[in-house]
Amino acid sequence: MEMDTNLALLLVLTPFLGFLINVFFGKSLGKTVSGIIGTVAVVISFIVTLVLFDQITSTGKAIEVTLFDWIQISNLKINLGFLLDQLSVLWLLFVTGIGSLIHLYSISYMHDDENMHKFFSYLNLFVFFMITLVIGSNLLVLFIGWEGVGLCSYLLIGFWHKNQDYNDAAKKAFIMNRIGDLGLLIGMFILGYTFKTLDYTELKQTILTIHYEPQIAWNVSIAALCLFIGACGKSAQIPLYTWLPDAMAGPTPVSALIHAATMVTAGIFMITRLNFVFDLATDVQTVIAVIGAITSLVAATIGLVQTDIKKVLAYSTVSQLGLMFLALGFGAYEVAVFHVITHAFFKACLFLGSGSVIHGLHGEQDMRKMGGLRKAMPITFWTMLISSLAISGVPFFSGFFSKDEILLTAFHHSIPLYVVGSVASIMTAFYMFRLMFLTFFKEFRGTEEQKHHLHESGSLITIPLIILAILAAFGGLISLPGHSWLNEYLAPLFTKVAGEEHHLGATEYTLMGVAVLGGLLGILIAYIKYFKQDNVPESDENITGLSKVLYNKYYVDEIYDAVFVQPINVLSKFFRDYIETGLSALVFGLGKVANEIAFQGKRLQSGSIGLYLFVFVLGMCAIISYIFLAQ
């Protein structure tokens, strides 16, 4: 037990230590040293995670660590503790694993930045909060991590804070997240109020044993809905998804780590963690599935016409997250988790690859000014190609298995949602290969000077890419259809019979074939349009019709601006100009009265000692006569 506590503390506190060192001494340590410290801190956490993973797979028992009683109110007791079970250790594996790779990558990528130590301290802080989020033993500890990663996300999006647009993007992300956080908080309150506990284990026990009344069922539904709103904010689902594309303002490693692989999956983690709550709220599950499907379709359509390489990937992330929520909505938690893992591999790889491209082009992000990079950057090209094949669902790459599982689940529950998901997948294949063709094939369309400087990135950038590409290629092996290691591993977590194993019959093979054909169709269209016909997306002014709507993201930002931001601004102006003026006058008036009284009182202080003595004697008389004569 002592050993487990130490391990858990080591796991959590090493990144925090890295953060402290980089914050206080980073500048004097120099860029390389500060980067190495940041990376080593996360690698240590990764090693600890491996130890824990080994322990859990061999014993099959969750490790519970209680540090101390945190809050104790009459009927609510909250510990500060950690729960290391199959789910949290699985999450830790890719958080710290991919985190280590991205830290390594950043040493090279951020080397020209003057605030490199700050970057690494933020990254370490992020890893610390992410670990806290994942291993907390109750919802309140999860909430600490939840808020912490939001804060780090804000800091890192606005990392290049000299650009006001980036600051606005950071603020947007933070505010959108706050809206979701409020939902999470309310959901927590309702759960705590209904079941008198926030601890996962106790909550599960209570929910499984409690006698059901309509009131409790109602509370659970509302709580599940609020928790889902929280997940929407963090995992960028409709209607709170607009912050994620803007979050691409941050440095590319940040996009890879926070906005593709780890933080945005926190919502899926939370729903999976509380699967017993969501299983009771079937209506909410339907809402989740529908919103997930719509998000995946909407984001995919927007992704079709984007020209910024990172924006394409951002919309792709939103779309893939939508697919995960689709699976969650059907109660297929292990499927969603599977897709989270494979998505973390190939999307991190894609982001890091795009970072390598951007690095090679000295900050150019517009795909219209790229092209022909295949020769200059072969490693980047091949790793990105593997990841694109994975995300497009080409057979035997990791994405094929996970996406197929989701679509199969959808097919068994609801045909319309299956169609929506499939269309989104075809679009995914299309825009990913559009990205590949525009970036790596044909002739280079940038300036001569850029062309002259084209080169493959250093080994610190390519090694993480290669590792991630291998994982993207073979990550699907952990959950092969028919024989799923992942499903067995996660089985203790779920109250329902874990993932009714899809019987591999004719229907399943047909569906697989359809999905593969769809993916290939998407790739083919992209090939014809951007390779054969040599099309290049038109410049901003010439975009017309439907693509203009898509290019402008369905004008959602403008609609939000008109519906929410402007009325609030008007209201604020009203309050500032009228209500506040009135209140100020009142307050200042009171101040003036007091001031006037004080000025009059000052005159009494004439400085004449004779008068003072006279008043003093009279007062003495009054006091004495009051004490002795007034009875």
Partner: protein, 106 residues
């Protein structure tokens, strides 16, 4: 030993003290010469001391006299310091009329 108060009566001492005390107050209010004001304060102190001694006899207890002893010590210190202050005021202002001391003006 015969109690002296049997012949005089405690109430006469109280009267005497009250009158002395009031004369002191009157002096403080009436005069503006700081030295005379000081003397008036001494008169008030003595009025109280006298009453202490009278009651000490009344209760046949020495505690009152001890108190008077301490009050004399304090009075001596007070007069010494007070007069030193008066001397320096006189040196600075050239007068010791309390009307000239206006530094307390708000």
């Amino acid at each position: 030993m015969d109690n002296i108060l049997n012949q005089i009566g405690i109430e006469n001492y109280i009267f005497l003290s009250v009158v002395l005390f009031c004369i002191g107050i009157f002096g403080v209010l009436y005069r503006r010469n700081a030295i005379i004001v000081f003397m008036s304060i001494e008169i008030m102190l003595n009025a109280v001391n006298l009453l202490f001694v009278a009651f000490s006899t009344y209760h046949q207890d020495a505690q009152g006299q001890v108190f008077v002893f301490f009050s004399m010590a304090v009075a001596a210190a007070e007069v010494a310091v007070g007069l030193a202050i008066l001397v320096s005021i006189f040196r600075n202002l050239g007068s010791i009329s309390i009307d000239n001391l206006k530094n307390l003006k708000g």
